[in-house]
C-alpha cells in the first residue's frame, strides 16, 4: 500500500488543521455538448468524510470518477496525497452506484476481485474477503451469485469489495441507496465507526439530506449542471450523544433545514 506523503497543499486556499487527502482544482468536464462540471474546486480533508449533495444529474458521479482516475477532466486537475492523478491507483477504491458486480462470479470471488487484480494469492485474498463479507452481514452467502441476491445485498457486496483492498481514499457513489431504511441506519452507524477508527478518507454521494448531515464531517452542496460548489457546510454534530437522540438534536435539525432551504429552490 502506498503511504501518504505528508502533503504539501499548495497554500492558495485557506489552511486547515487536517491535511487534505484529495484536492480538486478548477475541474471541468464536458460530455460532447453536455457541460457536466464547470471549474469546480474542492478539498477533501484526510481522515474525514465528505458528502456530495445535489440534484439528480448534477455531476456527482462524474466528479467521483474523475477523482478515481476513471475519467479525464476536460480542464483542471486532481491531487491525491499531493501527487496529481493520472489514472486509477491503489490509494483509491470505488463503490459503484450500479454495483458493477461480475454476474458470473459468486460473492466470494466478487469481493476478492479487487485483490485478485492486484495479484494477491488466492488463499490470502479469500481470507480477507471472508472477513469483509462477514462485516457487511453476508456470511453464508459466499457461494451465492449476484442474481440470487436482493438489491441491497448486491450493494453490500460492492461495499465489501472496496473495503477489502484497504485503500486510503474510499469513493462511495450512493452506497446505501438500495438497502432498506432499517439496514441503512445500521450501515450509517457502521460507517461512522469506520471513519472514527481508521484513518481513511471517505467521499460519499447521497440524495438524503438527513443521511449527509448525520454521517458527514463536511458537506459540499452542488448546483445543477454545470456543477459548481454552492456551499460547504461542516455539521459538527456531537456524535457522542446517544445515537437516537441525534435525530432530535435541534442543531442537527437546523442544519437539515438550512440545506433543504438551499436545495429547495431547484426543485420547483
Amino acid at each position: 500500500m502506498v503511504m501518504p506523503q505528508i502533503k504539501d497543499p499548495i497554500g492558495h486556499l485557506e489552511m486547515r488543521a487536517p491535511p487534505n487527502a484529495v484536492v480538486a482544482r478548477g475541474v471541468s468536464k464536458t460530455y460532447g455538448d453536455v457541460e457536466a462540471l464547470k471549474n469546480l474546486s474542492l478539498e477533501f480533508p484526510k481522515g474525514q468524510l465528505t458528502s456530495l449533495l445535489g440534484p439528480s444529474g448534477c455531476g456527482k458521479t462524474t466528479l467521483l470518477k474523475i477523482i478515481g482516475g476513471l475519467l479525464e477532466p476536460t480542464a483542471g486537475e486532481i491531487e491525491v496525497n499531493g501527487t496529481p492523478v493520472k489514472g486509477p491507483g491503489p490509494d483509491r477504491a470505488f463503490v459503484f452506484q450500479d454495483f458493477a458486480l461480475l454476474p458470473w462470479a459468486n460473492v466470494l470471488r466478487n469481493v476478492a476481485f479487487g485483490l485478485e487484480l492486484r495479484g494477491a494469492a488466492k488463499s490470502e485474498r479469500e481470507a480477507i474477503a471472508e472477513k469483509y463479507i462477514a462485516e457487511v452481514g453476508l456470511s453464508g452467502f459466499e457461494k451465492a451469485f449476484p442474481h440470487e441476491l436482493s438489491g441491497g445485498m448486491r450493494q453490500r457486496v460492492g461495499l465489501a469489495r472496496a473495503l477489502s483492498v484497504d485503500a486510503d481514499v474510499l469513493l462511495m457513489d450512493e452506497p446505501f441507496s438500495a438497502v432498506d431504511e432499517q439496514t441503512r441506519r445500521k450501515f450509517q452507524e457502521d460507517l461512522l465507526r469506520l471513519v472514527q477508527n481508521e484513518n481513511k478518507t471517505f467521499i460519499f454521494v447521497t440524495h438524503s439530506i438527513e443521511e449527509a448531515v448525520y454521517v458527514s464531517d463536511q458537506i459540499a452542496i452542488l448546483l445543477p449542471r454545470p456543477s459548481r460548489v454552492l456551499e460547504i457546510i461542516r455539521p459538527a454534530i456531537e456524535r457522542n450523544k446517544n445515537v437516537d437522540n441525534i435525530r432530535r438534536d435541534p442543531e442537527y435539525l437546523d442544519i437539515v433545514d438550512k440545506i433543504w432551504a438551499a436545495l429547495r429552490s431547484y426543485v420547483e
Binding site: 486509477p88 470505488f94 459503484f96 458493477a100 461480475l102 476481485f113 487484480l117 483492498v165
Partner: protein, 253 residues
Amino acid sequence: MASRSLQLKILSAVAVFGAWQIAGMIPVSYAFPTFLESMSALGRMAVDGSLYQAYLETLKPLVVGVAISAFLGIGLGLWIGLSSKFDWLFSPIFIVMQAAPLAALIPLLVMAYGIGLTSKVFVVCIMAMPVIVLNTAGAVRNTPSSIKEMGRSFLGTDVDIILKIIIPAASPVIFSGLRLGISAGFIGAILAELKITPTGVGDIITYSRSIADYPSMYAAIFSIILLAVVFLNIVERLEAYLFEGNVRGYASD
C-alpha cells in the same frame, strides 16, 4: 419437476416417431421407410461397423473446420470488438459473408482446392466462421462499461480486463455464436459431402439413395442429426462448466 420434463420429452418423442412409423406404413411414398425399418438399418450399420467408419470420415473436416472457426473466429471477433480500425476493415467482410448464400461457392472451392480435406474444411469454415466472429465482436463491444470501469479502478491491466472481465461477460453471446456456428458447420460438412465428394455419412446417404436402400439413407440422416444434437449438448455443458454463473434458469420461475 425434472421427471415431469423428462416424461414430456419422452411423450413428444413417442408422438413424433409414432407419426413417422405410421407415415412409413401407409406409405406416403415408396421411398419413405418406417421408423423401425430405419432404426434396424441403423443398428445393422452400427453392428457391421460401416457407420463408425463413415463418421471417422465425416468428423475429420467437421472437427478441423469447427476448431479452426472457433479459435480464429473468437480471436478475430475479440480483435474486431476491441479495435475500431479492425472493425472498420473486417466486419463488412463477415457481414457480407454471413448474409450471403455461400453454398453457391462450393464449385469454386472444388476448382481451387480440389476434392480433398482442404475444400471440405473450407466449406465448414465459411459456413461456421461469420456468425462466430460477429457474435464475439458484438458481445465484446457490448460489455457493460461499468464493470470494465470497475476493473480499471481496481488496477486491472489490459490483459486482466480482457481475460477476467470482457471474455467472461461476453461468454454467453460467444457461446450462442459458437452453437450457431457449429450447427452451420454441420450443414457445411454435409453439404460438402453431398456436393463435393461423397464420403462418410454423405456417401451413405447418396449411395443408399442410388441403390434405393432408403432405410439406410434415413438411418444415416437420423444419426447425423443425433450427432449434431449431442455435439451441441457437449458445448452447452462446457459453457455451464466454464461459466457457471451464466446459467440462470427460467426467467419466469
